[in-house]
């Protein structure tokens, strides 16, 4: 791989500038990508990563940019550029088309094998899809299955497979740009993706990899470019860097990514108790949570982690089993749960959490519009705004105002709105499903601090996460689920990621 930077880069962008209504978003950035390297692009939200990628993909026009492909100056967006360099973009958003079959989705936009040029040759299509899936080690997905029925992780894998299929076998992409592809993948799926990327790089392709996950970058990349406030902060070979160097470059301050320690003693009062929960995805699960306890829920995707939270919240019905809140058996409907002080942050912020075309206030106050109304009929706007102001301040939300539309906010700030909603009235129980997914390092740390301070004030927290590190760092105990069964309850003292992972796979003890 090219440690030798005097080689001619495959793509060289210099002097990239972009401003929106006079505010500079990208200021004089340069970026060189060499064939055969995996180049990480990191930075906090708002540092200019996504704008840079949008400029590269042509969806945003830069104010100024000069571009060279293999040493020859060409205009970005020109036909010549597209001829010389074919780029494939893989975004974090899924945009899966639920009605299509896996095979159709993989070959979407490419010519399908046909009979008589009119009819789809389903047999060949499915075989071709199977070949692609096998090539990437994704053997467990049936190409005939409908995309809508796959788990999130599987959808992402299928999409990735599709992106690596060369169009009409003519033009293979020479540069792949991946924007947070692992946001919804579990560790097995991530390692599959990584081996695929490494193989592509060894074949002489360049890979530009955008991620918030620091350890991924150290595992995968050769070089890293750090952006901060629209400028290049650091450009280095990854092996000359330490994690704290990188974090410092990203945030401009020394970040010690540590998990805030518990400030108070754990009480013995049990606030939430689940007895023999059973439905389609859960098999006889019982446990209890004390006031102020942080209980993690670990497991592979499909183990019933999210479904457990959904069942507790009353989103999915139970065949048998009871949920007790403060010793009282509650028949849970979602609205009564919110009213009795159980707050919930769902897994997918955009589709399940937020109403994207509404304001910060509406989204924060969503479960409480009726509660704070006048005579249960008229909205009490001033009360909603007052409380929104208070609770969004407490989670350090950064907005242009409470009337800003949430789609304009960064991922981290969107997630903070969901936290603000949960903390509207001091909750007794907080259910969190992947609370730090797709959130930058700075915001992540802030979220950890929110979780800790909430639990210090006596709220019981149940937290599902694919990041084992944060489960171990924040939780007192971890429930390990496997195929809907409660495999184990492990104490986080002296727990390592290795141990937790193997217990997720059911190989513990």
């Amino acid at each position: 791989m090219s440690d030798n930077l005097t080689d001619t880069p495959l793509l060289k962008l210099t002097n990239v500038k972009k401003s929106y209504s006079g505010i500079s978003v990208i200021n004089n950035i340069s970026l060189s990508l060499f064939a055969g390297e995996i180049h990480a692009l990191v930075g906090e939200n708002g540092a200019g990563k996504s704008t840079l990628i949008k400029i590269l993909s042509g969806s945003v026009k830069a104010d100024s940019v000069s571009c060279e492909v293999e040493g020859e100056p060409v205009k970005l967006e020109s036909v010549r550029f597209a001829e010389k360099l074919s780029i494939r973009f893989i975004h974090q958003e899924l945009n899966a088309i639920p009605h299509l079959s896996v095979a159709e989705f993989i070959f979407l936009g490419k010519r399908l094998p046909s009979r008589l040029k009119i009819l789809v040759n389903w047999k060949n299509l499915n075989n071709n899809a199977q070949t692609v899936l096998n090539k990437f080690g994704v053997n467990h997905i049936n190409p005939k299955k409908t995309v809508g029925r796959l788990s999130i992780g599987d959808k992402m894998l299928v999409k990735l497979c599709g992106a690596f299929v060369a169009e009409d076998h003519k033009k293979e992409a020479r540069l792949y740009v991946l924007d947070e592809p692992t946001a919804s993948l579990n560790s097995t799926e991530v390692s599959r993706l990584f081996s695929l990327l490494k193989r592509l790089a060894n074949d002489g392709r360049a890979i530009l990899y955008v991620s918030h996950r620091i350890n991924e970058i150290f595992e995968l990349a050769n070089r890293v470019t750090v952006l901060r406030d629209g400028e290049v902060e650091l450009k280095k070979l990854i092996r000359h860097l330490s994690v704290s160097d990188l974090l410092e470059a990203m945030t401009g301050r020394q970040v010690v990514q540590t998990f805030p320690k518990r400030q108070t003693f754990l009480s013995n009062e049990i606030v939430l108790q689940a007895k023999n929960l059973r439905n389609n995805s859960l098999k006889n699960i019982s446990f209890e949570v004390k006031c102020g306890e942080v209980l993690g829920i670990a497991g592979l995707s499909g183990s019933g982690r999210s479904e457990l939270l959904r069942a507790l919240m009353g989103c999915d019905s139970l065949d048998t089993g009871h949920v007790f809140l403060n010793g009282k058996n509650i028949k849970s409907s979602i609205s009564t749960m919110w009213k009795s002080g159980v707050a919930y942050i769902p897994e997918e912020r955009r589709t399940q959490g937020l109403v994207m075309n509404q304001t910060v206030t509406t989204n924060t106050a969503l479960p409480f519009i009726r509660q704070s109304s006048l005579f249960n009929i008229f909205v009490n706007f001033s009360a909603l705004r007052r409380q929104t102001k208070a609770t969004t301040t407490s989670v350090k939300l950064r907005t242009l105002g409470l009337n800003q539309m949430v789609w304009q906010l960064s991922g981290g700030n969107q997630q903070k709105i969901l936290f603000a909603r949960s903390l509207w009235s001091e909750p007794q129980v907080l259910l969190l499903d992947e609370p730090t997914r797709g959130v930058d390092v700075g915001a992540k740390q802030e979220i950890y601090e929110i979780i800790r301070s909430v639990s210090d004030r006596g709220t019981a927290v149940l937290m599902v996460s694919s990041e084992l590190r944060e489960l171990i760092g924040l939780c007192d105990k971890i429930l390990v689920l496997k195929k809907g069964k409660l495999e184990d309850i492990v104490d986080t003292l002296d727990l390592t990621e290795q141990k937790l992972l193997s217990s997720c796979y059911g190989q513990s003890k």
Partner: protein, 324 residues
Amino acid sequence: MQLNVEMLKTVFRKYGTFIGFLLIVVFFWMQRPDTFMTSRNWLNITQQISILCVISFTMTIVMVGGDFDLSVGSMASLAGIVASVLLQNGASIWLALLGAIVTGMLGGLMNGFLVAYLKLSAFVATLGTLTIFGGLALLTSDGKTIFGRAIPDSVGEFGRGSITLWDGFELPNLTMIATVIFTFVGVILKHSVFGRQLYAVGGNAEASMLAGIPVSRLRLWAFIINGFGAAVAGLMLVSRLSSANPTQGSGLMLNAIAAVFVGMTMSDEGEPNLFGTLTGVLILGVLSNGLTQIKIDTYVQQIITGGIIIGAVMFSSLTQHQGK
């Protein structure tokens, strides 16, 4: 420089439809300087559009929740027929009114139940009830138009009548009803818990449900209110024409949906809103009034109206915000 272009774009995106409306007004004003821009003609226009107003206003509620209702036209016809048949059989006017309104709300209940609880698509469910209500109207009236002595004179007088607000200014009764419904719907959408929650449901039903909002109940009530609106519109039609025909409301549905769609171009996020809907209805009303005054054939009018609806929505999607 770039700043100005951006600002201009914003202005056009938000007010383009309204500017279009003003241009249409100016056009007819220039064509018919003596008759068009008179208070008399404008009161006339408000009376002409009052029925479409009522039905479009309540349709806005349904569409805020992310659904729509194809059955309003035949629901209006049915409600009118029910009232007229009651009158024909000697019932009092109040009983006839009550009968019509209950009919409309039951129709809305049926639509809402099918869509919100049985999870049928709004398109299929209300297409079905459109046909059912149409059949019921024909059945109840025996397929005949009810007119003449069957309908008391006072009914027709109300529809043509007006109240004098001050000297020389008479507000047509039908316009007044439309104004009342406008206020009612405006308060619901802007200030009621129901309305604000319904906007959230329309934006993201799943997120709303997970936040504990009774999504199905809200959608059901949106349909019931729309049934109420259809019944009121049906009664206004009977009153204005002094007769009831089992298909006389059928033209309303497409115009109402078109008005809401035109109105949706007037909000930042493209959601239905009452002032937008009002502008939409005004555009349709002014077009029909003005084109008639400059003696354009009604068939041609239809083509022009359709073109303008498409033009408005297309223009607004062209100026849509980039980053979204």
